[in-house]
């Protein structure tokens, strides 16, 4: 709460079946405009298990598998889930547990407006599927199952974003100003002259050349404390984030004759440059 570094959204408990719980987060206006989501963390408060129940537990170091899925309600009313994170938690532990739900928020951002709230389905299952007698996973309880409305330990969604007006690219470079070390990531014109290439002579008929563009300049790096929060991220680099293909007409010899043929070469021209880090999530496209 009240953190300057990230926005926090309190969730509501909607309902549950045995070991599956549905959480809802109102997301409108939560993500600042012109910002890049670096990470979204779901924090659940795991209640301590009464000592007597722990005592009866066998095998001792029992764990439960907690799975978080993004749930999407389609226009026709049907549901669709996508797994976004899953990990083992120890029955013996208690306190805040964090799950990475960045992909769920990325999916949510791709929904058409008006967008439904972010729905996260949390399941608590046996550590290993199969006919084990242990019901240890039933001892894993998160706060929403406790004192309802107590405000204590409600599920929380932490949204870590970077302001693209500081940490983003600047579109096309200004052709009037030379690119220097201080130039902010931008797309620079680069013309490829096919007529100047020996191997293309009499073979590549069209185009005579094309604007391929290239990404130049540097990106602002997050300050130390933020970077330390995301150890899985490499430095931000200026890279092509959208590419376009290039159609080419070549001459092909077949059976003693020469005929023109069209070929499309993918990823040949840079459409857009962006600042991105190695290790950052490549958002999956939302299926229609």
């Amino acid at each position: 709460r009240f953190s300057q570094n990230f926005r926090e959204v309190a969730g509501r408990f909607l309902g549950s079946e045995a070991d599956t719980h549905l959480l809802v987060f109102g997301m409108e206006q939560r993500l600042p405009p012109n910002s890049e989501l670096v990470q979204a963390a779901l924090r659940l408060f795991q209640e301590p298990v009464p000592a007597a129940a722990l005592h009866r537990l066998s095998p001792r170091g029992a764990q439960a598998l907690v799975t978080v899925e993004w749930l999407r309600v389609r226009d026709d009313g049907s549901n669709r889930t996508s797994l976004v994170d899953s990990r083992l938690v120890s029955v013996h532990e208690s306190g805040w547990k964090t799950f990475d739900v960045t992909e769920a928020v990325n999916f949510w951002q791709q929904l058409s407006r008006p967008r439904q709230p972010l729905l996260l389905q949390v399941s608590v299952q046996r550590e290993r599927l199969g006919p084990q007698p242990s019901g240890a996973h039933r001892l894993v309880r998160f706060a929403w199952q406790g004192a309802r409305g107590a405000g204590h330990g409600e599920p929380r969604l932490e949204l870590h974003t970077l302001d693209l007006s500081d940490y983003g690219a600047q579109g096309d470079c200004d052709p009037e100003t030379p690119v220097t070390e201080g130039t902010r990531c931008c797309r620079q014109e680069m013309y490829v002259d096919l007529q100047g290439m020996k191997w293309a002579e009499n073979w590549v008929l069209e185009p005579p050349g094309f604007l391929a563009y290239e990404c130049v300049g540097t990106c602002l790096q997050p300050p130390g404390p933020l970077a330390a929060q995301w150890p899985f991220l490499g430095p931000r680099q200026c890279i092509p984030s959208e590419m376009a293909s290039l159609p080419v007409i070549v001459s092909v010899r077949e059976g003693g004759r020469t005929r023109p043929q069209v070929v499309s070469l993918p990823n040949m021209r840079v459409q857009k440059c962006s600042c991105a880090s190695d290790g950052a999530l490549m958002p999956r496209r939302l299926e229609p």
């Binding site: 590549v204 008929l205 959208e242 007409i249 070469l265 040949m268 857009k272």
Partner: protein, 55 residues
């Protein structure tokens, strides 16, 4: 995009091992038929719109 990369992509696309060596005579007077040019223009227009992902 280096010259080698460009040639490599074209050879890969055409499944060729090396660039064919064609004489001027092979292409002199070679006209591009309307349907081939139409295909080229259509791809050109579509390529301005397609947004394949970068790295």
């Amino acid at each position: 995009l280096s010259e080698e990369q460009l040639l490599g992509r074209l050879l890969q696309r055409l499944q060729l091992r090396e660039a064919p060596v064609l004489d001027r005579a092979d292409v002199e007077g070679l006209a591009v038929p309307a349907h081939v040019r139409a295909q080229y223009v259509a791809l050109l227009q579509r390529s301005r719109g397609d947004r394949s992902r970068g790295k």
